[in-house]
């Protein structure tokens, strides 16, 4: 289970990060396409949470 989480959490982080960048660029290209329906700032909080979790898991792995 621990191995599964150690794989899943970084994957969620990287996919979220790529999604954020793609959505951000699309929002710049066509204003409102994303932000009319979805708050990108909330998504950034999600990324930060998974960023912290990933670094904790990586630190544990190295101990």
């Amino acid at each position: 289970m621990k191995k599964f989480i150690q794989k899943l959490v970084p994957d969620i982080l990287y996919i979220s990060l790529i999604t954020y960048i793609v959505y951000f660029v699309l929002e710049l290209l066509k204003e409102g396409l994303i932000s009319n329906y979805f708050d990108l700032n909330l998504f950034l909080i999600w990324i930060m949470i998974f960023g912290v979790l990933t670094s904790i898991l990586k630190a544990q792995k190295h101990i």
Partner: protein
């Protein structure tokens, strides 16, 4: 762990499907977009009323929010993903009988021309007066994807009166997406 690759595929598919849904909503294939501003929380489509001073601070009372207009005129913007041909406006308000007001979008961004329409009182709804009007948007231009609306009530401050707004709902209508207009709609969506 042998199923992990399927989990990864699902993780990748979630943002792709979400983006598809967002694009679908933005295209409005049914040709209808409803925007609703209740003054309680900011709306991505409808801006706050401005300028401050002509409208007072938003008040919250027992879960209801409202804003008073004390000086004429005030403005608000509606951010639209594309142009529409008609709009139906519904507004919830309180005012004295002698106070009249009009709401309408701006014709042209460079000129002071507005398609102002009288608000027709239709019924009372939850202690608020509800008024409606309709617009033909054929000649209304968008400025940076925004349609500017003006609320006018001539002599409001001289009469020492106010109009209290509780909610604004606008239904934008256009022809539904079909084989015939697909290309034109696609081009207008991305301003090609």
């Amino acid at each position: 762990m042998k199923y992990y690759k399927y989990i990864r595929i699902i993780l990748i598919l979630i943002p792709i499907i979400t983006l598809g849904c967002l694009v679908y909503k933005d295209i409005s294939p049914k040709g209808i977009l409803k925007v609703d501003y209740d003054f309680c929380k900011e709306d991505p489509f409808v801006s706050k009323f401005s300028p401050m001073g002509r409208v007072l601070e938003i008040e919250k009372n027992r879960g209801e929010c409202s804003q008073e207009m004390v000086i004429d005129p005030v403005y608000f913007d509606v951010r639209l993903p594309q142009s529409f041909s008609k709009a139906k406006l519904r507004v919830w308000y309180r005012k004295n009988e002698e106070v009249l007001f009009k709401i309408g979008p701006r014709f042209n961004n460079n000129q002071w021309k507005w398609l102002l329409q009288d608000i027709e009182y239709t019924k009372e709804d939850n202690g608020w007066m509800m008024g409606t009007t309709e617009y033909d948007l054929a000649y209304i231009g968008l400025d940076n994807s925004r349609m500017r609306f003006l609320i006018s009530s001539a002599g409001l401050d001289e009469m020492n009166e106010k109009i209290e707004f509780n909610r604004i709902e606008i239904e934008f209508i256009k022809e539904p997406l079909s084989k015939d207009n697909f290309l034109t709609r696609f081009k207008s969506l991305f301003r090609l």
